[in-house]
Symmetry: C2
């Protein structure tokens, strides 16, 4: 399947911004460090942020086996996972045309608990690789008690859409002559200086994969 | 009312991370540039990112009057608005104890359309002030056609919780002796260099409020 377009994922507002192909959707999923998961809980929507990763056509989210969110997911026929990357504030001449530049993905699907020990182990490794490549091999890897305390949920990617806005503002024709500065203020999630654990031994250097 | 704690908003997992006071919740809402709104659409959860702002005890979200999301909200008894700020990746010695530093708020409430023209105008101004203080006065302000094409939803803040993780990793006692680097990689949304609209007249300088 090369398109994730369905009646439900079709972008109705400003359809030019809608995308349904893996080439657009996968990089957005992969760049984001967290997602927002929406479920129905007793008929009411509940939206919770959590960590995700993707391998091939499967999205994984994980968390504590005690988490209410993760415990509710396997019983749900439908969950919604939304991922948003903010790229800038769009300053138009007209207040009405102000906007954000962003890349977002909305995924509909069914979540299943990953029971197979090897798939669960591999999923935890790719969650780790997603956050910090190289960390998994360096860290003390999970023991059985820790694996049992962790739930991994897999969601097969079948219904999804991306919505993307890029570029300069779009103003009304008659407003371009106004003496108002217009353009984009770029925004990006950036890394700061590493902060060592206060109890870290000074003999332990920062590993190459963190530099 | 000084606490937003209810049975539904009470943080069950790691309750020490749960907060219910305005002093914790309001600054998280105010720092974030966007939120994720969850609604039930034909019984299925749908989560959409959008722009918000807050004044006193009211959260405002706004968008096109043609938006499916905004059109569905007034009929819903319950919506969920979740706001997440990512502050860093927490590198523990054990893979299991890796985490994110974050500040998130989950709000449950009912959305009402803002019909009163003055309240709607004021809400649009504070949405603008939230994104870029000073911009509203400089931009060409909305005309009646644009106001009619915009829907503003108000949500009274009554049920909410914040969840906050800060600081260094927490490892198992026996792992602190391992020769593994541990600490926090800070992350923050940062502003880049302004990008002028390609058709902007060179005679228009960047205004002070954008410097």
């Amino acid at each position: 399947m090369n398109s994730f377009k369905t009646e439900r994922t079709k972008v109705k507002r400003i359809p030019d911004r809608g995308h349904y192909d893996k080439k657009t959707i996968y990089p957005i999923i992969d760049e984001a460090l967290y997602c927002h998961v929406g479920i129905n809980h007793n008929g009411n929507p509940v939206v919770i942020p959590t960590i995700h990763t993707r391998q091939d056509n499967t999205l994984y989210i994980h968390g504590s086996a005690a988490s209410r969110l993760l415990k509710s997911i396997p019983g749900e026929n439908n969950i919604c996972v939304t991922i948003t990357l903010l790229d800038g504030i769009v300053l138009a001449r007209a207040a009405f045309h102000h906007s954000l530049n962003y890349r977002s993905v909305v995924i509909f699907g069914k979540g299943d608990i990953v029971d197979d020990p090897q798939e669960k182990w591999d999923a935890l490794k790719i969650v780790s690789d997603h956050l910090i490549p190289g960390r998994w091999e360096d860290a003390r890897q999970p023991n059985q008690k820790e694996l049992d305390a962790t739930t991994v949920i897999s969601i097969s990617l079948e219904e999804a859409s991306a919505k993307v806005r890029t570029g300069p503002p779009g103003d009304e024709d008659e407003d371009y002559a106004l003496p108002i500065w217009a353009g984009v203020l770029p925004l990006a999630l950036t890394k700061g200086e590493l902060v060592p654990d206060p109890v870290l031994s000074e003999s332990i250097d920062i590993p190459d994969y963190l530099r």
